[in-house]
């Protein structure tokens, strides 16, 4: 009960940053819009014949891939709090130690929700249409949030275990970029050379993208959804354990 309310206080604090630091708000809003417009109008014609049909294909994946970038804030935020001595301040208070990381992750999952809503709303303004039910859309939203939760834990591990802010940025970027692009987000796996297909097919970004796509525009859902759940659970549990270990060891 108290750990929950302490987490709520720290979540509020992390979200307040978004409002007081306009740079963050602009970044969280402009970045998904920029990706959407660039990919749909620069590559759409070449990949899918027209930007209109490409936006149908790419939008669900764009959200899943965007989650990786949004989750990087977990790593950066935690690392900054350590760097500035703020974690020392929190740890010298009689509060649950877990609330520092938990407050960060809850805030970042909420930010993921915001980024998703912005991306989908912009997509619809540019011609994206849902082809499934409201239930499908709601399930897709839930899946994206769960994916954001798992990635936030992974990023929390980077933020706690790596020392300098630059290393955290680089490591996060090196993780997010190849996984995001070597996936089924921007082009179907079947269009890629065999050796790459082997990687793309097991890439969790592909798995979650396929499930989200199925829930939003139709297609196979059950198999990718099951695989997504396994990946999300696996990433969360392993990262959670690693984060906890690093958090305790860090002095």
């Amino acid at each position: 009960m108290t750990a929950a309310s302490q987490t709520a206080v720290l979540t509020r604090r992390n979200l307040l940053h978004v409002w007081t630091d306009p740079q963050q708000l602009v970044g969280m809003t402009i970045q998904p819009l920029m990706f959407l417009l660039l990919f749909v109008y620069v590559f759409g014609g070449a990949i899918a014949g027209s930007s209109r049909s490409y936006i149908q294909f790419v939008l669900p994946g764009l959200v899943v891939q965007g989650v990786g970038f949004w989750a990087m804030q977990t790593a950066i935020g935690l690392n900054t709090d350590f760097q500035r001595g703020l974690v020392d301040r929190f740890r010298s208070l009689p509060i649950a130690r877990s609330s520092v990381v938990a407050g960060r992750i809850v805030a970042d999952v909420l930010r993921t929700g915001w980024g998703t809503v912005i991306t989908v709303a912009a997509g619809m303004a540019f011609g994206f249409r849902l082809h499934t039910s409201a239930g499908g859309a709601a399930a897709a939203f839930g899946l994206v949030l769960a994916w954001g939760f798992a990635l936030s834990w992974l990023m929390a591990f980077l933020g706690v275990s790596l020392r300098s802010a630059e290393t955290v940025q680089t490591a996060g970027f090196l993780l997010v970029m190849p996984l995001g692009f070597a996936s089924s987000v921007f082009a179907p796996a079947s269009s890629m050379p065999g050796w790459l297909q082997a990687f793309v097919k097991v890439n969790p970004v592909t798995v979650v993208t396929d499930a989200t796509r199925g829930l939003m525009i139709g297609g196979p859902v059950a198999r990718p959804l099951l695989a997504s759940a396994a990946w999300i659970a696996g990433i969360t549990v392993v990262s959670w354990a690693l984060t906890l270990r690093s958090y305790r060891a860090r002095v």
Binding site: T2, S5, Q6, V9, L10, R12, R13, L16, H17, T20, D21, R84, G85, L86, D88, R89, F90, R91, S92, L93, P94, I95, V251
Partner: protein, 315 residues
């Protein structure tokens, strides 16, 4: 039962192969101010971090108000406040939001947390800037906010780790006044500092540590006496007179002098020796460009308290 508010015994801590604390022990009675004095790297911060439950000792014991820092960290945290070397406040938030957040974390209700934040802002002269993001603050304002942040929970024992390092004279004075006020109100304070002057002004008792050992302990007055009181410093007009000045000062004070570039310094047990030195230099017709009395610097005090390599080099 009058158990010490802070009690430390045989505390040892190593980082890798370097032993930062080597069986350190001291105590502070409730309601007193203890100064932990030492040069950079002496182990001051490590001792404070152990007492604040941020670090586990390798060996030895430490208690705050009878609560063991290793066995009962949460009970220790509920009675302490910590202000670190660098201001650990949220840069992006305002001062008011920072204090409100800590109040809420401590389980204070919304309204009471707002009120407590307001009280502290007023008491620390931060009211006019309370709504501004902390990153726009000056160094002195940040330190005051940091101190205010450690007081939200009304701690009975306050740890101040070099609270005025890097501050200008005016901000330092402001902070000293605030700390003095807290001590008068009965808060037990452990203060680490590199400044003899700061310990002198604030602390009733001082523990001097160096290389993880306690090297001296006592009231500031006792320590100053032991470190040789004031110092007569003379700069001869001509460099050739350095040896003559050294000889005269040693003869007048009966103490070994320290030569540094173009000045000679010697501890003076009695300030009146300055007059004797001036007249003796006059009779010997040694031209002087500067002569005066000053307090020993921390370095000089240390050299004396720690068995002094300086004395060895001048003999």
């Amino acid at each position: 039962m009058t158990r010490a508010a802070i009690w430390v015994d045989g505390l040892t801590k190593s980082f890798g192969s370097s032993r930062v604390l080597d069986g350190i022990g001291f105590e502070a009675a409730e309601g007193t101010v203890l100064g932990l004095l030492g040069p950079n790297g002496a182990g001051k911060t490590t001792a404070v971090r152990i007492l604040c439950t941020l670090l586990r000792p390798d060996a030895g014991r430490a208690e705050v108000l009878g609560r063991d820092v290793v066995a009962e960290p949460q009970r220790v945290r509920s009675v302490i406040g910590l202000t670190g070397q660098y201001a650990a406040v949220d840069d992006v938030l305002s001062a008011r939001e920072n204090l409100y957040m800590i109040g809420r974390l401590l389980g204070v209700g919304r309204r009471a947390a707002r009120r407590r934040a307001g009280e502290l802002l007023a008491a620390f002269g931060l009211e006019p800037d309370a709504a501004r993001a902390v990153k726009t603050y000056s160094g002195g304002m940040r330190r005051r906010l940091d101190l205010a942040a450690s007081l939200v929970g009304e701690p009975r024992v306050l740890f101040l780790d070099e609270p005025t390092t890097g501050l200008d004279v005016a901000s330092r004075g402001q902070l000293w006044d605030l700390i003095e006020g807290l001590a008068e109100a009965g808060t037990t304070v452990l203060l680490t500092t590199q400044y003899l002057e700061e310990a002198d002004r604030l602390a009733g008792r001082v523990v001097v540590i160096d290389h993880g050992h306690v090297v001296a302990e006592g009231s500031p007055a006792e320590l100053k006496e032991r470190s040789g009181g004031q110092i007569i410093e003379v700069r001869p007009a001509r460099r050739e007179d350095m040896t003559a000045v050294t000889r005269v000062l040693s003869a007048v004070t009966g103490a070994a002098s320290i030569t540094e570039r173009d000045t000679v310094a010697v501890p003076a047990a009695d300030p009146a020796l300055l007059g004797a030195a001036v007249s003796r230099l006059g009779t010997e017709r040694i031209a002087i460009s500067q002569i005066g009395l000053r307090l020993p610097s921390l370095d000089e005090a240390f050299l004396r308290l720690t068995g002094s390599p300086a004395e060895r080099s001048t003999r």
